[in-house]
């Protein structure tokens, strides 16, 4: 299942609702383009809603890390919301759980950007 990305604004935060898989090829490229596009437009607060992402491979994990570091370098912030169990387990196993700011409720996540 390919990755689909829907964007919405909530109180100055861009929420990207992702659905599908973030894997080598199209999924990783779509995510990279979406985040770089937002950052180039000056958006500093980006929340990735992963509720409907059932799988991220090592390429996708690398893309998430790149998004995080690209954002940091531009004084922007990328946070993660609503991990599925499989994605949660992958982030924990790879210790990326310690890198990202991970939230499990949207209102709290939006408020945390203030």
């Amino acid at each position: 299942m390919a990755l689909t990305i829907a964007s919405r604004e909530v109180n100055g935060v861009t929420v990207l609702d992702l659905s599908g898989r973030i894997t080598l090829g199209e999924g990783s490229v779509q995510l990279r383009d979406a985040i770089r596009g937002l950052i180039s437009k000056g958006q500093k607060n980006i929340l990735l809603n992963l509720a409907d992402v059932n799988y991220i491979d090592s390429s996708g994990l690398g893309e998430l890390v790149s998004a995080f570091t690209t954002a940091k370098n531009q004084q922007a912030d990328v946070k993660l919301l609503n991990l599925t169990k499989k994605v949660h387990d992958l982030l924990q196993l790879t210790k990326l759980y310690t890198v990202f700011d991970i939230k499990d409720d949207e209102a709290g996540a939006i408020a945390s950007f203030k």
């Binding site: 080598l24 090829g25 491979d57 390429s59 499989k86 790879t94």
Partner: protein
């Protein structure tokens, strides 16, 4: 191109993302048909996918003149998945530890770690040219797999 012989499925695939998806799907089916639970099927599929990514991306570097060879076998005691490429080869022992604090923000280098985390055995053999990866998942004896 595929060939099924004595319980082993062999595939010859091009160096493209579709081949990664195909190897993952076949591995997941192999695990499912062996009676592994959902988590174990996922682990086998992830490991096979990562092996295929390495073969296509780092091994053959998407060179369509080079091929990927994959075989899948349930020998009754274990699932054995072998993936080989025609690339320049790699030495897995020289790869940086992806869990080391200084490597956590690297954009790559987690594939072999995931394979080793999810499979019982992971072996590399250098070909000339290329790399052969063997992934093994032991099966519980009959009646002990539930």
């Amino acid at each position: 191109m595929s060939e099924a012989k004595a319980g082993r499925l062999s595939l010859t695939l091009k160096s493209a993302v579709e081949s990664v998806d195909e190897i993952e799907a076949v591995a997941e089916k192999l695990a499912s048909e062996a009676g592994l639970d959902e988590d174990e099927c996922f682990h086998v599929a992830v490991a096979a996918r990562e092996g295929a990514v390495n073969a296509v991306l780092h091994g053959n570097e998407f060179d369509l003149t080079k091929q990927i060879f994959a075989s899948f076998e349930n020998n009754g005691a274990a699932l054995v998945i072998i993936i080989s490429d025609q690339g320049k080869g790699l030495d897995p022992d020289t790869l940086p530890d992806p869990l080391a604090p200084e490597n956590l923000l690297r954009g790559s280098g987690r594939g072999i770690f995931l394979m080793r985390s999810f499979m019982d055995e992971v072996h590399f053999r250098q070909l000339n040219p290329g790399t052969e990866l063997t992934l093994v998942k032991h099966l519980a004896p009959a009646g002990k797999n539930s």
